[in-house]
Symmetry: C2
């Protein structure tokens, strides 16, 4: 089969790779229906994270089960499934707490930008749709594999409650998903911090009540102007850079909480957080925990998180998918074999 391999920063190739096979009785092999490129893949593409040797890449997918190991009972060949980017057995003590991203048997996999993929802990990781979903729902179902659940995780980690004023730092696909999550969780005011016309348009479609184009101190002041002068109850930090984290901490009110899902680069001002009673919480998303509920919302037509995909390419053009996101010509690239 063919799949994407990152050889070096800026160098992603579509090339022949071994067909995945069942290695453990808890494995499944899934034929990809759609995959995509993640903002976190760009860390390596941009040379910010190392690429020590050529490696398969990609961790978001939906597809159809082709084969299962002897111990797999929750899905069968022919099922349409979505799986999270972080495999989990969904039964260990940590999973039972709802923290599946930190499953005691968890693993990280790369290589989902491919025609097929081996899924470990298939019973715990894969969630099937009831029957074959309509083609139009594929982008939204694909988004549940990571980006929408990551935006949801930002909102859940921050503790968004009905009526809250929420500000979202970052207008990438995760930030936009976080806007949608905050709205779904009942936030009263949802401020998207975005200075790109195309992205703020989607934020509005997702339910943002305000868009703030300013950044840094000016952006913080603009958020305060919308929140009785004190800052937002919850801020969802969906970038991870030092500047974005500082903006998030500055935009939250005393006693509020910052949900963090951007891969963390740079420190946080611990003394300031303490004296202002500002909480922080976040990390890799507990996709498996959120998938059933969000799948219901997608299948029922309540949310359409797939709108974050604004470029669709054949999987064979995966290199162009990376280039378009790197150059900000696309928010997020959907790939089909």
């Amino acid at each position: 089969m063919f799949g994407a391999v990152i050889h070096a920063p800026g160098d992603v190739r579509y090339e022949e790779r071994p067909d995945p096979v069942i290695l453990e009785p808890t494995d499944a092999v899934v034929r990809t229906v759609a995959a995509c490129v993640c903002g976190s893949d760009l860390w390596r593409y941009r040379g910010i994270s190392p690429v020590p040797e050529p490696a398969p890449i990609g961790h978001e997918f939906c597809g159809v089960v082709e084969e299962v190991g002897a111990d797999v009972v929750s899905v069968r060949p022919g099922d349409f499934v979505v799986g999270g980017f972080n495999p989990s057995d969904n039964s260990c003590p940590v999973c039972r707490k709802g923290a599946q991203a930190n499953c005691l048997h968890g693993a990280h996999y790369d290589g989902a930008q491919a025609e097929r993929i081996r899924i470990p802990w298939a019973n715990g990781t894969l969630v099937p749709t009831p029957g074959m979903p309509d083609e139009s729902l594929v982008p939204s179902l694909l988004s549940l594999s990571d980006v929408m659940c990551t935006g949801w995780h930002a909102a859940v980690s921050a503790g968004v409650r009905p009526g809250d004023a929420v500000a979202v730092v970052g207008d990438g696909a995760v930030g936009l998903s976080a806007v949608l999550a905050a709205v779904q969780l009942g936030a009263g005011t949802v401020i998207a911090m975005s200075r790109h016309e195309d992205r703020s348009r989607i934020a509005r479609v997702f339910g943002a009540t305000h868009v703030v184009a300013e950044r840094g101190e000016e952006g913080i002041a603009a958020v305060r102007d919308l929140t009785e002068g004190i800052g937002a109850d919850r801020v969802l930090e969906c970038v991870g850079t030092e500047a974005a984290r500082a903006q998030a901490v500055g935009a939250v009110r005393p006693g509020g909480t910052v949900g963090l899902v951007g891969l963390p680069h740079g420190d946080l001002p611990m003394q300031d957080l303490f004296w202002r009673n500002v909480g922080i919480k976040g990390g890799p998303a507990h996709v498996r925990s959120y998938l059933p509920h969000l799948m219901d919302l997608v299948l029922g037509g309540t949310i359409e998180p797939g709108l974050v995909f604004d470029l669709e390419l054949p999987l064979s053009q995966v290199a162009e998918g990376y280039a378009a996101m790197d150059q900000r010509r696309a928010i997020k690239t959907l790939l089909r074999p």
Copy 2:
């Protein structure tokens, strides 16, 4: 009148000070019925925080209102009152969010280890009891001025929920109060980390289900042994030292939360917190937010947080009160004029 003045590390004197008077129409003057020495007072007494010049000290009190300014309507002369260590108007946008420790008009006051004290923002700060409380309740009412509310704040900040496994780092008066708070909030397992017989006895009285005497890595391992091997859902950090904070972060499970109320000394491992999805939240306690509920629990006999006082002295012997706590001969000293 007379009151305590800290002149230098180790040097607290009971000396004549000016009688407090109404300076603002929102002030009240309270005659002290009981005051006490706080663990945070010891930072200066021990020379860890600076003492640039002699200063009145003490921020915990209960007493009887003697005089009120023209704008004070919520209490009257003769009322028995408890006030938090952080005055708040209880009406600004931040106070209305329940974050009174960060009141926009907040101030810090020292000098409550005295015969009388001037209270700013009396409407917002002071909470009266219905009638004159029984003498036996005075220690518990006094504890609501800071220590019990600070323990409660640790538990609320950590998000303790019914059934949670909670570990408490620190067996001082705040840590013991945090044990009581966790129990009241419905925690199923409450692990007091204590190696002092007298203190762990009080922790048991307050409802701790387990006492762990080990510290550091051994203490963390002992907590994990009691929590399916993964760590506590919530850890309440009531010390503030680097060692205590590291112990708290080590003892919490993936996806759990650490409530912080110890004055923060030393950094936290931000990358580790992120990848383990561990949240942190805390700071100075929102006493005014918690006071009415906790006062009800005290007056109704549900809780007796005043048990943390194991030494009572005349206010004139305040110096001995500090020395006893510094030398760990007392958990917490109650002072009466």
